[in-house]
Structures are given as C-alpha cells and as structure tokens.
C-alpha cells in the first residue's frame, strides 16, 4: 500500500474505503429481468421531459432573461412556452405508455405493485423505513423489485405528475375557450380558487418534483452501492443480479430454476445457454 498525500489522495482513500465497506459479496447470482423496454424508455424520456419542464417552467414563472430592441425581433417567451408545451405533450405520452403497462406488464410493473397495502407489505414498509433511519441497510428486507417504500414514493410521483399535468392543461386550455382541452378541465378552476389557484398549485408542484428528484437519485445510487441492488443498471439494461442464496419478499427464489422468469429472460450464472 502506498501512502497517499494531499486532499485528492485523501478523497481517493476515503472512496476506496467506502468501496471496500460495500464490497461486492461472493456467492451464486442470477440475473432477473424486471423492467420491459417500454418502461425503461418511458422512464428516461419522462426524466428528460420533467427536467426541461422545470427549466422552462421557472422561466415562465420568473422571466429572468430579458430581450431588448423591437418585440418583432424576438420570441423568447414564445419559444420557452413552446418547449414547455412540447415536453408536456411528450410527458403525457409516456404516461399513456405507463398506464397501459400497468395492465399488461409483469408482476413488478402492474397496477397492484403501486399499491402495497397488505399487512406484510406494511410491516416491510416499517422495517425498511427503520433501516433507513438507523443507517442499517443490513436490516432491510430483501426485494427483487421495489421495496414498499420505493413503491409508495413512485405512486406519489405518478400522483404528482397527474396533478401537474391536469393543472398544466387547465392553464393551457385558457387560450382557446371552447376547445376540447378547455372544456375537459373547465370544472376545475372554480374548485381551486380560479386560475390563480391552479397556477399556484402548478408552481408548487415544480418544487415537489425537485425534492423528489434529489431523493430519488440519492436512494437509487445508494441502493446500488449499499444494497448492491443494481437498480440504476436495472432501469438501463432491464434487469439486475440477485443472490440465489437469499430469500426475497416479492419473489420465490427456490422456484426460479424450475420456473424460469415469465419472459424467459432467466439466466443462471455459470451455465451456458
């Protein structure tokens, strides 16, 4: 071992230490397929949409760049709004894909996965929350898919998206009274203090999304590192490795060899296909 000096060396030392603490465990692993291609595509397209909606939304809320000269020479707010509305339309399309997959997807993608309400799920939710609060990832119940806390937070973010999309389209419809969009949401403003109420909710949801994104990114990376759960790669490649020496709350590992993964994606390590 060489002794490293300086701030950079210290940081690398620390990083190495962290890596060793959460070193990859040994044993027998199997690769399971979790997220179908449309779900993965939807995830990243929606992420891009939401980021651009946040950036353009903040400009609409507080137009910090100003242009000078003749109005006819510029279309800054117009363009920003165009990007906002285009991203909004794409976001809705990803929502449609997701809604369809709630019905036709696999065990981890279907509607019931969004509502972990059984007693066992609740007790696992409490256990998971406890392990997060006491910094004891080793006390966490094992899940192949999402744990109940993740499930509920994704249910929440879908609800947030619905609120934002509904308030957004309500505002959007105003420029064309009598249009389909206008009429579809005309019942809403009177319930929420008029268009200004809608605007406030839409504005506040933006902050809710920002908070969600921060925590989502942290927890995803954390599970990758700490739980070795491979969730980050699972939303890229579609699956992750799980140890076959452990039991899982949402998956009967014993049955795997005789019951291959429903989509036929099960691959046991070491065995040639």
């Amino acid at each position: 071992m060489t002794t490293r000096v300086g701030a950079l060396g210290g940081a690398r030392d620390l990083f190495g230490r962290v890596q060793r603490v959460f070193a990859r465990e040994r044993g027998n692993f199997t690769w399971v397929y979790l997220w179908s291609a449309p779900i993965r595509a939807m995830h990243w397209i929606a992420a891009a949409c939401i980021l651009s909606l946040i950036a353009t939304g903040f400009y609409i809320a507080r137009p910090y760049f100003a242009t000078s000269g003749e109005a006819s020479a510029h279309f800054l707010m117009g363009r920003v709004r165009f990007v906002h509305f285009a991203a909004a339309a794409v976001l809705v399309m990803t929502g449609i894909v997701r809604a369809y997959w709630l019905m036709v997807g696999n065990q981890f993608e279907r509607l019931p996965a969004l509502f972990p309400v059984t007693g066992k799920n609740i007790s696992n939710l409490v256990k998971t929350a406890g392990s997060y609060l006491t910094f004891r990832p080793d006390k966490q119940p094992n899940f192949v898919g999402h744990n109940p806390m993740q499930q509920w937070s994704y249910t929440a973010v879908y609800a947030m998206a619905v609120v934002t999309v509904v308030t957004g389209f309500t505002l959007y419809g105003q420029s064309a009274p009598g249009s389909v969009i206008f009429r579809a949401f005309s019942w809403l403003p009177p319930l929420l203090g008029g268009l200004q109420g809608i605007r406030v909710i839409h504005h506040l949801m933006t902050w809710a999304f920002i908070l969600f994104i921060e925590m989502h990114v942290y927890f995803a990376i954390r599970s990758d590192y700490v739980e070795r759960a491979g969730v980050v790669s699972s939303i890229i490649t579609g699956g992750r490795y799980i140890s076959i020496d452990h039991s899982y709350e949402d998956y009967d590992i014993a049955k795997v060899p005789s019951h291959p993964w429903p989509t036929g994606e099960y691959r046991a390590p070491g065995k040639s296909e």
């Binding site: 959460f22 080793d138 009598g178 605007r199 406030v200 902050w207 921060e214 925590m215 070795r228």
Partner: protein
C-alpha cells in the same frame, strides 16, 4: 315613468319617429345598429335584423334594484359610448324604477314600483347592482324598511330574466372578500329559478349592458353565456390573448418596476402582477371612456376584476401568484422551495455519510474484514 331624457317616448310613436324627434337621423340609428351587431359578434349582416327589431320594439319594462353597492356600476353604464347610447338605452327601455336616477322618492316611488311590477308581471327585465348581505338577517342593507334579500326576492319573482350587473351582483365583490363581515353574496346565490346573466366587472363596461339589451330586444332571449353566466360575446376571451402588449410578452420583454425603461417602452406587465392571463374580459377591445384607453393600455396591470372572488384570488395585485390563506406564496414559495431543496441535498448527503460510517463502525466492532463477507450476514450488508 321616470325618464332622464327630455324627450319622452309617447305612446303610439315608433322608435324611429321618436329618434327623429330627438334629432337622431336614420343614418345614425343604422350606425348604432351596426355597431351593436359588431359588439355582439353576430356580423354586420345582422344589422337590418337589429334595426327591424328596434323599429317594432315594444318597450320592455325594466326594474333596476341597487342593493349593497357604491353606484359605480350605474356611473359606468351611463357613460356608454356614442351615439349617446346611455340615453338611447334609457329611451328604448321603460325604466320604471331606479332609485338613484328617479326624480321622486319615498313611499310614492315604492308604490310606482309595485304598480309597474304587477302591470308587467312575468315580462319585465330585472337589473340588479349590488350584493345581498345575509348576516344579521340581512340588516346591513335595508331599503324602504325591507332587507335587500326581501326586495330582491319580491322583484325577481315576477321578472322574465335578471341582469346581475357588476361584481357585487355577480358574487359579492369587495364586501364579500375575506372575511366577508356582512355575509354578502351575489344574485345567483339567492335566486335559483330565473335566468340570470352576469355582466361581470368592477365596474363592467357599459357597452356590454347596451349590447345585451339590444340582443334581448332583437332575439327575444339572453345571449349565450360561459360557465360563470357571463355573455360570451364580451367575456369569451382572455385579456392576455387580446392584449396590445402581448408581442412584448412573447418576445420576453417585461416591465420590472413602474418607472423603468420597459415601462416607458410599453412592455408587458406580467412581472408587475398583470392578471390578464387569468381574466376573461372585453377591456382590450371595447376599452373605456369612449374607447379612450384601458388599464393595461395606460400602463397598469389588470386586476382581474371580471373574475369571481378576485379580491381574494387576484391579490396581491402587483404580484403574479396569489396569497394562499394569507401566506405570501409569491414572495416566499421560491425561497422556501430553494431552502427545502438545499436541505434535502444536505439531508441525503448526511444520510449517505451516516450510512457509510455506521457500516464501517459495525464491521470494525464485529472484526470483519470487508473483503471476506461472511455467509451469515445478509447479502446486502
């Protein structure tokens, strides 16, 4: 019976003859009809139809109640645009009761009102300005010894239709702003069984009233309305979508303070609290004071006065987002949001660090070498 005009419309005289006696030429009359056709959005081809209806018009009897209000709406309506429409309107209709404009007072006019109401039962048009206070048995507005609610209910029972004129009659206006000490409500909250047209605004533009009466006389029914009961010909579009400053909005050119360069150049008032994006009103088109100007044209942000509860939902008038339950969202929400975002970032960083350190400590105390994770430990330890 009480006509402010010096030239009474005598029985048997046609309207056109009457106009002639007042020095209004046929040509001017046709111009008026054409203008009304345009305001109503039915196209100038409808002009002869309006003229015909007017010529044959039987003067509708109108009862005008002023309840809990400031008389501003009456002022606004009497200042309607040429050709002396205010006069014309008052000539065309038989204004049988209007306690501000009437020469008489007291028991005599109350008696006259009763007489007009029973003579034209089921046929008269009821115009209402002002709200109806309901708290303390309605004693905040008492006219001729009777509460506004009683007076309104009585007059409404024999009316063919009701024009709720102004924000007060529409939903209560300033006196209905939180905490609404007198329990003020609009006509639609008291009268449920009559067609009610809301001529929104604080005050409304007089031309809207004139055009509505013209529509009623021409087609025998009230004009089409939106979800708020406001006539679509006037309130069918947002200010923001008809605004003369809109090009500056799209260009990204905004007034930031009322004395800056942008203000002098007539840029968009969005950042100083313009409620045009949330307000349906004909202000940019009909304008005010004989089409002289209008608030945004004169450099002031729209307050949103044609929208229900605007004193609560459109305030602060010089801020873009409303206060929620007294909480200044505009000033604070972004600060709080940013603080939460930074807090969450710090929180996740701290959580990550704490996780790492508790794990290191745990491994040390159990004397485990990280590289050789033992089997009894959970796989994700």
């Amino acid at each position: 019976m009480i006509m402010p005009s010096a030239h009474q419309w005598v029985e048997g005289e046609t309207l056109v003859q009457h106009f002639e006696s007042r020095g209004i030429s046929r040509r001017e009359f046709m111009e008026f009809c054409g203008e009304m056709a345009v305001i109503l959005g039915i196209g100038s081809a409808a002009t002869p139809r309006i003229a015909e209806a007017f010529e044959a018009a039987k003067r509708p009897s109108v009862i005008w109640l002023q309840l809990q209000e400031c008389t501003g709406c009456v002022e606004s309506v009497l200042r309607t645009e040429s050709p002396t429409i205010g006069d014309l309107l008052l000539d065309v209709i038989s204004l049988d009761y209007q306690h501000t404009l009437m020469a008489g007072a007291g028991a005599a006019v109350e008696k006259a009102k009763q007489a007009a109401m029973s003579a034209n039962k089921g046929k008269y048009l009821l115009v209402v300005t002002g709200s109806v206070p309901l708290k303390e048995d309605g004693m905040y507005t008492v006219i001729g010894g009777r509460t506004a609610k009683t007076v309104l209910e009585e007059a409404a029972s024999g009316a063919a239709a009701i024009l709720a004129l102004g924000a007060c009659a529409h939903w209560g206006s300033v006196q209905a702003a939180r905490p609404n000490p007198t329990g003020a409500v609009g006509v639609r909250d008291v009268i449920k069984n009559k067609p009610i047209l809301n001529i929104a605004g604080c005050p409304p533009i007089g031309d809207v009233v004139t055009a509505t009466v013209v529509h009623y006389l021409t087609f025998g029914r009230l004009p089409a309305v939106d979800g708020e009961g406001r006539p679509l010909f006037a309130y069918g579009k947002r200010i923001h979508d008809q605004c003369s400053r809109r090009a500056h909005f799209d260009a990204g050119q905004f007034v930031e303070t009322f004395d800056d360069e942008g203000a002098r150049k007539g840029w968009c008032l969005y950042e100083v609290g313009c409620k045009g994006p949330a307000t349906f009103s004909p202000c940019p088109i009909f304008m005010w004071n004989d089409r002289t100007s209008w608030p945004i044209g004169a450099g002031h942000p729209c307050l949103g006065c044609t929208e229900p509860h605007f004193w609560d939902t459109m305030t602060p008038f010089y801020g873009r987002l409303p206060d929620v339950g007294g909480f200044p969202v505009e000033e604070r929400a972004d600060t709080i949001g940013l603080a939460l975002a930074i807090g969450a970032a710090a929180g996740v960083a701290a959580h990550g660090a704490a996780t790492v350190f508790t794990q290191i400590r745990r491994r040390r105390s159990t004397n485990q070498v990280p590289e050789s994770t033992s089997e009894e430990e959970s796989h994700n330890g």
